[in-house]
């Protein structure tokens, strides 16, 4: 039996044991409690979260059971305190069974792709490109890549509108393995249903020992070893310093509490606590060593309800293109007199797309380490942070450093500058940061500021022959909190107003006019890094409480200045009793939605065949600036804009025990 199979079986067995244990606990009415000697505590909850999306139906039917336990031990004088802590979570998302035509076994179907070439039909089926088998080396085997179980790339958020599109397989990877990226985006139906049960034992949310070693001078060394979340920073929603654990965006895009979507890691977390020393009211030194095997953020996969930036679908479509070939909408300009537009084109396997994901293997040099000094001085809380870690977001390295690819005109295989053939990598990043919080009495407000400077991050860049470039980045969040009475809404209880401004500045940003944009052709634009050089996102929260805090309405809104999109999420949280809680919420997006950017159709990787009229030297590769929504417009639209059609109403019921 292979190690992988053994691991999977072990995970399943653990899952069944956990479900059994939790079920027994709930059936027998066992409640939260503490042992007679007070050293063992346990509690937990059962929750159903049902979300419905406009035009789709149920988008989430997630059932969760979570059990938390801690046991304190008396270990004599060496450790002043010593405990073992564990959190188990079992999740079943029924959306893959209840709405299987959108997200499960029968999701997707046959698709047509736009073809603006005026000399042929305006759309063609997947595999039926205008340029196809018979033309040079174009075309692919439709029996291996049938027109079924597919969606059009970006079809959930925008029309193709003359841009790039291709097929995205959307069924679970055991039903249809096309486009599945091994070890990254390859969840089976059961893997999607029971997302906590996988080879990385995600049902084990936490398992760590925690001990304090006291010193004669009153200082203390805290050691926490095991699977855990380590939280840095002082801000909500945004992850400027809080980047030690990767996060699972597939659970509910950017909208779940980070507590629930941080992916626990095996970490040694040591903290030397000095307390009050010198002029500091509190001073502590922290060392974090994440020695777990690398884990990227979970971005969702093609066919799942939540995919931040639509990345899961894009990657799956691109992987399918590489493995099996694909029809790309509106790609080829054909030299047919009297015609206009671009023809849908069937690319052969191994020519464009994503070849593989290079997940860093476990070795000492791939572990991640951070240092933090944190304290309070003159009433101001502060931290100074450093972290070296592997990017949790993927970098697509292509073109001249991408995979050896197959030229559909010549049949030649080599690395082609500017060719949209990629491998996915996770570069090492160095983060230098800090944070402060303080209270401004004159305006009765608390300010929280967090900033980070990073080196080593990689961004898509259509000006580079590798189609990416590195850049230093500055990010920051300025948070403001104030409690304010609104007597006509509640004369007894203040409302919390909280606003945050998140800024991101890509210091080595590149964005240049192209031959096409200089010529003033509307469908052409600038080339370079699609992310905004300077962008800001504002969040605003207004939260009130009634009935002894048991009824809490709130409005949470966010606005992405670059994307010009907004999300508004009103909710009412009703704590019926100590055990029962109901949350009714909605999530509405407004604004521009999807955005266009240079899509590298005019990058001329296979000159002279792919040259445009703007390529004065038809053998010279480089973008002329033809733009569309896909694939890079997603970085301009941002996570709100790319989910602009995902308005939802949400009901969550939780029973605590």
């Amino acid at each position: 039996m292979s190690k992988l199979k053994r691991l999977k079986l072990r995970s399943r067995a653990a899952a069944l044991s956990l479900i059994g244990a939790l079920s027994v606990s709930s059936i027998s009415g066992a409640a939260a409690g503490t042992s007679d000697d007070g050293t063992f505590e346990w509690n937990g909850f059962i929750e159903n979260a049902t979300f419905a999306r406009k035009g789709v139906g149920i988008s989430k039917f997630r059932n969760t059971m979570q059990l938390e336990m801690s046991k304190e031990f008396n270990t004599g004088s060496f450790f002043s305190e010593f405990s073992l802590n564990m959190t188990l979570r079992a999740t079943y998302d029924g959306v893959y069974d209840l709405n299987k035509s959108h997200f499960g076994r029968t999701a997707g179907g046959a698709i047509n792709l736009q073809s603006t070439f005026s000399g042929a039909p305006s759309s063609v089926p997947h595999g039926g490109g205008i340029v196809s088998t018979g033309a040079f080396f174009f075309g692919f085997d439709r029996s291996k890549n049938p027109n079924d179980g597919l969606m059009v790339l970006g079809g959930n958020s925008h029309l193709t509108d003359g841009g790039v599109a291709f097929a995205v397989p959307v069924r679970p990877c055991d039903v249809d393995n096309r486009g599945c990226l091994a070890g990254y985006m390859d969840a089976t139906l059961n893997g999607l249903r029971f997302s906590d049960f996988n080879d990385r034992l995600d049902f084990l949310r936490e398992l760590y020992i925690d001990g304090n070693i006291p010193f004669d001078n009153g200082h203390e060394l805290n050691i926490r070893l095991g699977r855990q979340q380590v939280v840095w920073g002082r801000t909500d929603l945004f992850r400027v310093l809080d980047v030690i654990n990767p996060v699972d965006y597939s659970r509910h895009n950017i909208y779940d509490e980070l507590e629930d979507i941080r992916i626990p890691q095996w970490i040694l977390n040591m903290e030397y606590r000095m307390g009050a020393v010198g002029s500091f009211e509190d001073l502590n030194f922290n060392l974090v060593w994440n020695f777990d095997k690398f884990r990227p953020n979970s971005l969702g996969q093609g066919g799942t309800p939540y995919q931040i930036l639509g990345a899961g679908g894009f990657f799956r479509g691109m992987k399918n293109c590489w493995d099996n070939g694909c029809t790309v909408a509106n790609f080829a300009g054909l030299p047919v007199p009297g015609t206009t537009g671009l023809a849908a084109t069937d690319f052969a396997p191994g020519s464009i797309g994503i070849r593989q994901v290079n997940l860093p293997k476990w070795k000492l040099s791939n572990t991640q380490i951070g240092f933090k000094v944190e304290g309070v001085k003159d009433g101001v809380g502060f931290s100074v942070n450093y972290l070296t870690y592997l990017s949790q977001l993927p970098s697509l390295r292509g073109g001249s450093v991408g995979p050896v690819a197959f030229n559909n005109f010549t049949g030649e295989k080599k690395q082609y500058p500017y060719l949209i053939a990629f491998d996915i990598d996770f570069p090492r990043i160095h983060l230098f940061g800090g944070s402060v919080d303080f209270y401004a009495d004159s305006i009765k407000s608390v300010f929280r500021i967090e900033t980070a400077f990073t080196t080593g991050e990689e961004f898509a860049n259509t000006l580079r022959k590798e189609l990416y470039s590195k850049s230093n980045v500055v990010r920051y969040v300025i948070g403001w909190d104030r409690d304010t009475f609104i007597p006509f809404l509640n004369k007894n209880k203040a409302f919390l107003f909280s606003a945050q401004l998140f800024g991101q500045h890509i210091l080595d940003h590149e964005l240049e006019e192209t031959a096409g944009s200089k010529a003033g052709v509307p469908s052409f634009g600038r080339a370079g890094i699609p992310d905004w050089k300077d962008n800001w996102t504002m969040t605003f929260l207004m939260k009130g409480w009634y009935m002894q805090n048991r009824l809490s309405p709130q409005i949470l809104a966010a606005y992405d200045f670059g994307a010009r999109t907004a999300v508004v999420s009103p909710s009412i949280d009703w704590l019926i009793s100590d055990s029962w809680r109901v949350i009714v919420a909605a999530n509405f997006k407004f604004g521009r939605g999807a955005a266009k950017f240079d899509d590298c159709r005019s990058c001329n990787p296979w000159g002279p065949y792919t040259a445009t009229p703007f390529h004065t030297n038809p053998l010279a590769a480089g973008s002329a600036g033809l733009k569309g929504f896909e694939p890079l417009g997603r970085f301009r639209a941002g996570p709100i804009g790319m989910a602009s059609n995902e308005d939802e109403i949400q009901l969550t019921v939780r029973y605590r025990f």
């Binding site: 002082r234 010198g278 009211e281 309070v376 303080f438 009765k444 004369k491 203040a494 100590d578």
Partner: protein, 435 residues
């Protein structure tokens, strides 16, 4: 000439002796108000019950709210003998040692020369415009929980006054630590390594229920009363420490009927209020021997400790004995015009300087809340509290008469410095304890 000098010296010695005697008398009167006898009132006897039938007879020795509650049949009051609560001898000794060294500065919140003990032990004088402020200082620097103490655990119940339904039960641990002006625990009077020059710290941890488990509150109160407290809240579900604004100090704490500023009767700065001494009186206050009270089996602890029982309207009223005691009536009006209340009226127990009764008025001046903090005698409580000389906060009721709602509190007060080590009172401890 020689005779004149002798007479002068003798006169001076007599004056000094008289001053010493007078000073000693001030301290004696302050700490032993019942030495010459306990107060009495016509018809009031130990063991009797004041109820709807006889409340009019005792209206004069009831505060306005309690009178009304009994008159309306919301509660009854079981009477016991007045018993002296002698505070810790070290605190009394510190008062003597530092007598007459303390003065008020020009602004409310300014105090000079204070080392330890009760700063202003002299009887308040109605003609002294700052008499109220001096009483407030006596409370702030009172013996309260001693140099350190813990309520471990502490059950709060949110109750509907009309239906008596218990809506929420919260279980806490509360910890208190004096960093300055200490009189019993070494080092004293001040702890070393106190760069922020903090006077006191309070740390609160929520243990139950699950939705607020690990919520923690930390308050740092500076020695300089004009400097605003620092307060932080750790939210378990966010795993983050958040600094609190003053708005949150004067807002409902975790949905209860108390604001953080209400803790212990008043938990704020002297400079946040305008203090007025309104007179001295004998009234009935909830002072009792815990072990002699009606106790509940709810939350009974493994060591056999039982908590005070509740009854009366809505189950809001602690079922404890009351005794006739000397009080100073102290009015506190917020300096901040945006403060959610217009004033508090504290009934300050003259012997212990605790705040067993407080009545709170809303911004319009209408009665809003009424606060009872039951005071247990330390010698009739858990063994470790015996002889501590601390009047132990043992039960509370905060009743919102406008909202028809109350929050009750059941304490297990423990005078055990090991439960409140200094490291508990740091921001970092909140992160570590949280998860």
């Amino acid at each position: 000439m020689k005779k004149q000098i002798t007479a002068l010296i003798a006169g001076t010695i007599l004056c000094v002796s008289a001053a010493f005697a007078q000073n000693a008398d001030v301290v004696e009167k302050s700490f032993y108000p019942y030495k010459e006898g306990v107060p009495s009132y016509k018809g009031l006897k130990s063991g009797m019950v004041i109820n709807q039938a006889n409340v009019e007879q005792f209206k004069e020795i009831l505060d306005e709210s309690m009178y009304q509650f009994i008159k309306d049949g919301w509660t009854e009051m079981k009477i016991t003998d007045t018993v002296a609560y002698e505070l810790n001898s070290s605190y009394i000794a510190a008062t003597k040692a530092n007598l007459n060294k303390v003065t008020l500065g020009t602004k409310t919140g300014d105090i000079q020369g204070f080392v330890a003990g009760r700063p202003f032990p002299a009887e308040p004088n109605a003609d002294d415009p700052r008499a109220g402020e001096k009483l407030a200082w006596n409370y702030k620097y009172g013996y309260n929980w001693g140099d350190s103490g813990a309520v471990y655990p502490f059950y709060w119940k949110f109750r509907d006054l009309n239906s008596a339904k218990i809506e929420r039960t919260l279980k806490f641990n509360f910890h208190f630590l004096n960093l300055k002006h200490r009189v019993t625990d070494t080092p004293k009077p001040d702890l070393p390594r106190n760069p922020g020059n903090l006077f006191r710290a309070i740390y609160v941890q929520v243990l139950e229920p699950f939705d607020v488990k690990n919520t923690q509150l930390l308050i740092h109160r500076y020695e300089d009363d004009l400097k605003r407290d620092n307060a932080w809240l750790y939210l378990g579900f966010q795993r983050r420490v958040r600094r609190l604004s003053t708005g949150q100090i004067t807002d409902s704490f975790l949905g209860s009927d108390l604001m953080i500023e209400d803790f212990e009767g008043y938990n704020g700065r002297i400079s946040d209020m305008t203090w007025t001494y309104k007179g001295t009186k004998n009234i009935l206050l909830p002072f009792y021997k815990h072990n002699d009270q009606k106790l509940t089996e709810d939350h009974k602890m493994s060591d056999g400790y039982k908590f005070v029982a509740y009854g009366g309207k809505g189950g809001c009223f602690p079922q404890v004995d009351w005794q006739l005691r000397k009080v100073y009536i102290l009015e506190a009006k917020p300096v901040d015009p945006n403060h959610p209340i217009s004033k508090r009226v504290h009934y300050v127990d003259a012997e212990t300087f605790t705040l067993p009764r407080t009545v709170i008025y809303d911004r319009k001046g209408d009665l809003w809340k009424t606060f009872i903090i039951g005071q247990a005698h330390p010698d009739f409580h858990i063994a470790k509290n015996k002889g501590s000389g601390v009047s132990i906060d043992d039960s509370f009721m905060m009743l919102d008469v406008q909202g028809a709602h109350c929050t009750t509190g059941q304490f297990k007060g423990q005078l055990d410095s090991k439960l409140s080590p200094r490291k508990k009172f740091t921001v970092q401890n909140m992160r570590v304890t949280g998860k």
